[in-house]
Symmetry: C2
Subunit: 124 residues, 2 copies
């Protein structure tokens, strides 16, 4: 079960670091200058999510997008921030703003997927 270092892993991570925004599998594949199989990219992305290196955002198009995770002090993944999808430039990004919520009694929240849609700073 120990993870191995592979060119694919590094390439995927590099693309996401450079982009600085959330990306889908096909967007990543386009940016990678290597011929890597679709399924492999998905597997790499899923493993990164399991390991807390990335986090997954599901947008209202039903597609999965992936972005780097900043782990906090406790090495715990935090997906507790809003995401923003721009209707103009079609970019999905992590906002710094935390999701603050209250839920009715006896509900407990394990994780969240919150996407705001509108016009981003670059397109306004």
């Amino acid at each position: 079960m120990k993870r191995r270092n592979t060119p694919t892993k590094e390439a995927v991570l590099e693309v996401l670091k450079t982009a600085g925004k959330a990306m889908s599998q096909d967007a990543i594949e386009q940016e990678i200058h290597m011929d890597i199989n679709r399924a492999t990219i998905y597997r790499v992305l899923n493993r990164f999510c399991e390991d807390g290196v990335l986090h997954r955002i599901v947008a209202d198009d039903g597609k999965q997008y992936f972005a780097l995770s900043d782990k906090n002090d406790n090495n715990k993944v935090s997906d507790n921030h809003f995401h923003f999808k721009c209707l103009a430039c079609d970019t999905i990004e992590c906002l710094p703003n935390e999701v603050s919520f209250t839920v009715p009694n006896a509900y407990s929240v394990a994780h969240m997927n919150c996407v705001l849609t509108g016009i981003c700073k670059d397109c306004s």
Copy 2:
């Protein structure tokens, strides 16, 4: 462009009213005791969303769920509340709690899709 009343429309609405929670197309189809085509149900649901009768939630499984809209005073649809997906009973429901957010300067928000996941009151 004027809408017509059909048995399908009424059946779909009835199912959603009775359920009192968000449902996917296939869940609705199972609950309807009529043989209605998949595409037709989708078209009915889409029309209801256009008309503000329903609103659409995209969960983190990438699927669309539909729930009744309470229109507010101005007859405007409000999807600005949290949704909750229970990991135990697999139910998706509208929470009464509003989504309050702040976004960085020059961002403008048109709509939102916020789903919290965890354990609901019935399952805790």
